[in-house]
């Protein structure tokens, strides 16, 4: 598994040149400082042009996505919101190269999505934590590092950092079934961050959590995304969650799935995501704006059939 990423050469590693870089205190917005080969500015984290996706056989086709254009800048936090069946998860899966678009072009950091996946340019988290039950918390987080043959010492150090980052220092040796749902999801997020991806793809990661855990997790994700400086594509169906976390909320509608509106939240990255923000009138007005944008589109009354 070669992960020949377009980063600056690492001088002090002889035999593992293709491993993730060991420097820990990576500055925010790594895309700008670690890509000397893009003279005219870093490419956006995601650029989708006229992307469509249809599922099914010739007889019964379902159009999940129709002519979607979306650009996510490096370091930007974008929330995809919309009713069930609007194709928001499908769009995320296309970016992750878990599915291939039927038509249109999709680039991740200026590369085809398949190449970006091979280069491990993104980390991914799903609605279910999806931990391997026979591995400890630490071993679960280490999984991507093991698969990409990171040296043992570096792996250990990175896992220790991540366990602290998600506040599970005391649970590194626990098994997933000993943890609550929220804690499992934190492990999944730590795992998605293991290789310092410049892009995080999250498909309703807090969808299965109770409201209180969910709000706490949102605050933590906001902190983590600020600390790592990674771009985030965050699929959700919660309006407050989208506004609370994102720089930009992309509103989608169903049948066919397409983007109907985009709302810049205007809440800077440096604004602390806490209870005060949730009670801020500006926050409320953005929530209202997103809600109206959602309802402006033809609301699918019956809910959804496909993803």
């Amino acid at each position: 598994m070669t992960t020949d990423r377009p980063t600056a050469p690492v001088p002090d590693q002889e035999d593992h040149v293709d491993d993730p870089q060991p420097d820990r205190e990576r500055p925010v917005r790594r895309a700008t400082d670690s890509e000397p080969d893009h003279a005219f500015g870093a490419p956006p984290a995601v650029r989708a042009r006229g992307v469509s996706k249809t599922f099914g056989s010739r007889r019964s086709q379902v159009t999940a996505l129709s002519e979607v254009d979306l650009t996510v800048a490096a370091g930007e936090f974008v929330a995809l919101i919309g009713p069930s069946g609007c194709g928001k998860s499908t769009l995320m899966r296309l970016i992750a190269d878990l599915e291939a678009p039927t038509s249109g072009s999709l680039e991740v950091f200026g590369k085809p999505a398949a190449r970006a996946r091979a280069d491990q340019d993104y980390g991914i988290a799903f609605q279910q934590a999806g931990l391997l039950p026979w591995r400890t918390v630490a071993a679960n987080i280490a999984l991507p590092l093991e698969l990409h043959r990171a040296p043992r010492a570096e792996r250990k150090q990175r896992v220790a950092e991540l366990v602290e980052l998600v506040g599970l220092g005391d649970f590194a040796k626990s098994r997933p079934d000993q943890l609550s749902g929220g804690m499992q999801q934190r492990v999944a997020i730590a795992r998605s961050l293991a290789e310092r991806p410049r892009l995080l793809l999250m498909d309703e990661p807090f969808g299965a959590l109770d409201e209180m855990t969910r709000e706490r997790m949102q605050a933590e994700l906001a902190r983590i995304s600020l600390e790592t400086g990674a771009a985030v594509v965050f699929v959700t169906h919660s309006i407050p969650e989208a506004v609370f976390l994102a720089d930009r909320v992309v509103v989608m509608s169903a049948r066919p799935g397409r983007i109907t509106d985009e709302i810049v939240t205007g809440i800077g990255r440096d604004v602390v995501r806490d209870e005060h923000l949730r009670e801020d009138p500006a926050f409320f007005s953005k929530v209202t704006e997103v809600r109206e944008a959602l309802h402006a589109g033809p609301v699918s009354a019956s809910g959804a059939h496909e993803r």
Partner: protein, 275 residues
């Protein structure tokens, strides 16, 4: 045997007994049942005077076992080795073929009928055929029978185990660009392990029983099964029972060994497959 677990329960409330007492109880209870059983048996033979042709007493069986200890031990090893070799061979073939079947549906389709046939073949029918096939002085027929008996549960359970991965886990491995081997070794195999172990546990008792029963139907003289039948045929009933005791011990040894293997795997993979 089934009464041993329930026996201590009515005497004292379960909540009141500390863990230590319960542990001792778990050891003592079956011993008590065993002693009572043996005493009852001896009582039937000595006091009620049941004919020794019908039922030799435990004392008699014990002394036969003592007198013929070397012979019994040799027979024990012969049968044990046949069962172990058959189990090993059946397990390896079962796992390899199950791996192929899980990897390609075509293989599964090809094997399904063969496995279903093997599963219903009676040892009684197969043993004479294989014994004459390999010749009267060869153990291979018996080992082949044990292997066939062991193969079926291992294959069936392993195929099922190898299909336990969830779509999300597969997506995750795909997102890591994991190679086929990596996906197999870090996802598919650990998911399958508890199922494989279950298969081996079932197979171990089947292998012992098959190796024993196969000895009834010809082949070289030697082994517990053949001595049970010859002893019974020459009216040496107590000696036949002595061999039966050895056969029980062999079955228990096989059981304990597989439990230990299971513990070992569970220690490595504590919660098993999916949770």
């Amino acid at each position: 045997m089934t009464t041993t677990r329930t026996r201590p329960a009515p005497g004292r409330p379960a909540t009141a007994s500390p863990a230590a007492t319960e542990r001792i109880g778990r050891v003592v209870a079956p011993v008590v049942v065993g002693v009572i059983g043996l005493a009852g048996w001896q009582f039937l033979v000595s006091v009620v005077e049941v004919s020794p042709y019908l039922l030799p007493g435990p004392q008699e069986i014990g002394s036969e076992l003592n007198d013929n200890f070397a012979a019994v031990r040799e027979a024990f090893w012969i049968t044990g080795a046949n069962a172990a070799i058959g189990l090993l061979f059946g397990t390896v073939v079962g796992i390899v073929l199950a791996g192929l079947a899980a990897w390609a549906r075509v293989v599964d389709g090809m094997l399904a009928f063969v496995v279903a046939s093997l599963a219903v073949v009676p040892i009684v029918a197969l043993a004479p055929v294989l014994n004459s096939m390999y010749g009267a002085d060869s153990e291979y027929g018996r080992r082949a029978i044990a292997a066939i008996a062991a193969f079926v549960p291992v294959y069936v359970n392993t195929v099922r185990g190898l299909r336990q991965t969830t779509p999300q886990h597969r997506d995750l491995m795909h997102s890591y660009s994991a190679s086929g081997w990596q996906t197999f070794s870090s996802l598919t195999l650990p998911s399958a392990a508890p199922h494989v172990i279950t298969g081996i546990r079932v197979a171990s008792s089947l292998a012992v029983i098959s190796a024993l029963v196969a000895e009834y139907f010809g082949g070289p003289r030697g082994g517990l099964g053949s001595f049970i039948s010859t002893s019974a045929a020459t009216s040496a009933y107590a000696l036949a029972w002595a061999y039966v005791v050895a056969a029980i011990v062999l079955g228990l040894v096989a059981y304990v060994v597989t439990v230990l293997i299971e513990r070992l795997v569970q220690w490595r993979l504590p919660t098993g497959g999916r949770s």
